[in-house]
């Protein structure tokens, strides 16, 4: 089938051929592969997204599944078969309670400043905790908040989504309920005029939840 490459010089490969290609690329990578990377590697004119969607459906119920991770895609073993892979298990450092709480706050409140994390936990966040989460590739620096002092914000990474099996931060469990209960707001304490709303959540979750959750 050497023709597939030659033909591609002139026109995009047929859909089933494109599906084979994204399949091969996905299988060859341990890391999620971005749509841009697919397009860079596939013949000119290819459309990775429809091919990926078709492939995802094809693997439904199989031993491995095609998953979306942010803007990227990956193949992962089906969660119910994890017991077969005990030998493959990487012993991960047990995270401290401070670290897991901080991670959850970053995930649900992103982009969030250190001061906001501290406000929620009621205790100062040690530099090491955020460092550890960043080192694990789960938390990254976001844009600076355009408020006095221009504090840096923290957000989750694609690695975070991949690790916890989420397609997007919108898929965080219980997000809608938390939001409905007002628990993702950063209310200023009474008498503290300075506080004000944080644009943080609004930046991200107003858009993301708003337009994709008619069931909210």
């Amino acid at each position: 089938m050497a023709t597939s490459e030659e033909r591609s010089l002139f026109e995009a490969p047929p859909p089933d051929e494109q599906e084979r290609m994204v399949e091969a690329i996905l299988f060859a990578s341990a890391e999620p592969v971005s749509v841009a990377e697919f397009h860079a590697r596939m013949p000119h004119g290819s459309e990775a997204l429809p091919a990926l969607e078709a492939l995802r459906r094809r693997y439904e119920g199989r031993g491995v599944e095609v998953v979306r991770v942010g803007d990227a895609w990956a193949i992962r073993t089906a969660p119910d078969l994890g017991f077969l892979m005990r030998r493959e298990t990487v012993e991960t450092r047990k995270l401290s309670r401070a670290a897991t709480e901080t991670l959850a706050i970053v995930a649900y409140h992103q982009p969030v400043t250190r001061a906001e994390i501290e406000e929620i936990r009621g205790v100062s966040v040690s530099r090491g905790t955020l460092d550890q989460l960043m080192e694990m590739g789960w938390v990254r620096l976001g844009r600076r908040r355009e408020t006095p002092g221009r504090p840096v914000t923290f957000a989750t990474t694609e690695g975070f989504l991949d690790h916890f099996g989420l397609s997007s931060p919108r898929d965080l469990p219980g997000l809608k309920e938390l939001r409905a209960a007002g628990l993702l707001e950063s209310r200023p304490s009474p008498g503290d005029d300075a506080g004000g709303e944080t644009p943080g959540q609004a930046e991200m979750f107003d858009r993301s939840i708003g337009d994709t959750a008619p069931d909210a």
Binding site: F27, A28, S29, A30, E31, R41, A74, I75, R76, T77, A78, P79, G82, M85, E88, T89, V90, T92, L95, R97, A98, T100, E101, L103, A104, I105, A107, Y108, I120, R121, G122, V123, S124, D162, H163, F164, G165, L172, P173, G174, L178, A181, G182, L183, R187, S189, P190, G191
Partner: protein
Amino acid sequence: MRVPSREEAAPVVDIAARMAAEALIVDVDGFEGPLDLLLMLSRTQKVDLRRISILRLAEQYLAFVEEARSLRLELAADYLVMAAWLAFLKSRLLLPPDPADEGPSGEDLAAHLAFQLERLQAMRDAAARLMARDRLGRDRFARGLPEDVTRVREVRYDATLLDLMQAYARLRTRDDFRPYAMDRRDVMSMEQALERLRGLIRFAGDWVELATWLPDGWRGDPARRRSAAAAHFAATLELAKEGRLEIRQDETFAPIRVRRRGDV
């Protein structure tokens, strides 16, 4: 809160160190800050966080701090700040509101504290749910035998017609200065000059300006004149070395003069 261990019969001098260690136990091992402590105390009320009595909670917290003091445990500053704030809140909640006071009401402050506790609990639950998900490397696995993408870097060289023209022009221009490309007609070699001088020197009994010895046809064109002058000067040096000629120049840039030395 832990009661300090009495197992070790530590010497009296270590009491201060032990006290410090115990304070650490309360801070680090026990609770993650005053809000965490409040959350733990609130559970003793056995009601939904939304219906918690903040007044009772404040009293519980103050009692805890009091007990810590009686045990002579050093509490971190945060805990004491929170205790002071809760004492203030308690007074606000108990006393009738002062119409002259513009600050927030006790109820507002209590509601905010309740919100903070509920939010912290919510994040704690969210963290637990997150950690319980099917996780990569534990429940779900990535490709074990990934294939590396070989990156092939192809270098393409490029040149324009202008590059080509410039290069060629550069070469042709350079020809003017390249010895091998010089027209031999305009170059006099030292050997040629030497041969001439060997003949001429016999007639130089007295000082003669070297310039007058340049051959006809080599005096007009500057390039030819320079070449002939250089060749003749080099030749006189050669003859002087052989001891057949003397060279003299009275001052810098003065004419160079030569005369025969001894017999030829």
